[in-house]
């Protein structure tokens, strides 16, 4: 009964920080900052990712200001980094820029799938942890790698459901369930979420939170999808705590046979 959930007191705690929302939001892909701000509000998210890129003197509107107004905590990512070295430097720059030692660590090993590069990821995680960072690594759905990352001291693990932006959902739910068993830190399902049912499934599998980016920002109506994701995460969390019935091949009648009327052969004569 460890997963019993009280909807009013249920908080997610990562590295000592407690959040009421179990939905993390990516800020990439929104058509405008206004729509992004509306979607953040609709999602209820308290932790949102940002990337670090070269200053564009022609850029209009300040993302940092909009996010500060939204009252959310920033989770800088190292998106686009292909080596441990680049990821570590990017994390250090993000710490300077955003005054947070939290980092969503991404080290990409392949351009087409954007899958993580496991050896580089471990190397970068180790170096950043030594440097005092709170590291949330984006990882594959490999339970062994997740355990290695947790053993190093990562504050959470963020296994993918399927490749970033693919909307393919959770391709290996059994691995996600194994990861939940393999580590003691929060498990945040990251990448691959396509729609609300994917987020609910992640929570039903025992994930502690879900991260959604493209699924919301590139939906036809991002604000409505943000609302849907929020409801799905809450529903999945409650269902996990409620304890689902086992799957069976054959039916189990939900109405008892006891007291069932008997009509003799007369009924057959009618047909």
């Amino acid at each position: 009964m460890q997963h019993t959930v009280s909807a009013t007191e249920d908080v997610l705690t990562i590295a000592g920080r407690s959040m009421r929302s179990r939905l993390l939001l990516g800020t990439g892909g929104f058509p405008s900052l206004e729509l992004m701000a509306e979607a953040i509000a609709a999602s209820g998210s308290e932790l949102v990712t940002v990337a670090l890129r070269r200053v564009d003197p022609a850029a209009r509107g300040s993302l940092v200001d909009v996010l500060a107004d939204a009252g959310v905590q920033l989770l800088p990512n190292t998106a686009g980094c292909h080596t441990a070295r680049d990821a570590v430097i990017t994390a250090r720059l993000a710490r300077e820029a955003f005054a947070t030692d939290w980092v969503k660590l991404e080290v990409i090993g392949d351009e087409d799938t954007l899958l993580p590069d496991a050896p580089e990821l471990l190397r970068a995680a180790e170096e950043l942890l030594d440097d005092g960072f709170v590291v949330l690594p984006y990882t594959t759905d490999d339970p062994v790698l997740a355990r290695r990352l947790a053993d190093l001291g990562c504050a959470a693990v963020m296994p993918l459901g399927s490749p970033i932006g693919s909307g393919m959902g959770i391709r290996n739910p059994y691995n996600i369930a194994l990861i939940r068993e393999a580590v003691d830190v929060p498990v945040v399902l990251d990448a691959g979420i396509g729609t609300a049912s994917d987020a609910a499934l992640a929570m039903e599998l025992g994930c502690d939170a879900v991260m959604a980016a493209s699924a919301i920002s590139r939906a036809q109506d991002p604000v409505a999808m943000a609302r849907a994701m929020r409801a799905a995460v809450e529903a999945g969390r409650l269902a996990r705590g409620a304890g689902r019935i086992p799957r069976r091949l054959y039916a189990t009648a939900s109405t008892p046979d006891e007291g069932l009327a008997e009509f003799g052969d007369g009924a057959r004569e009618l047909s």
Partner: protein, 67 residues
Amino acid sequence: MILLNGERSDVRAGESVAAVLVRLGLDVDARGVAVAVDGEVVPRASWESFTVGEDARVEVLTAMQGG
């Protein structure tokens, strides 16, 4: 030649990081900005005193939507 965000620039050796930021239209107290010179982070507290050398590679970064 000093490279500023990957492009040839007329930044001269001996200019401070703060001066480079002004060239980009940024305040020295701008939120959400970080600077690396030759792959090393230049902490905010050193922006006025840190000067760029010959052939330095200066990266000035800020928040962008992502992830």
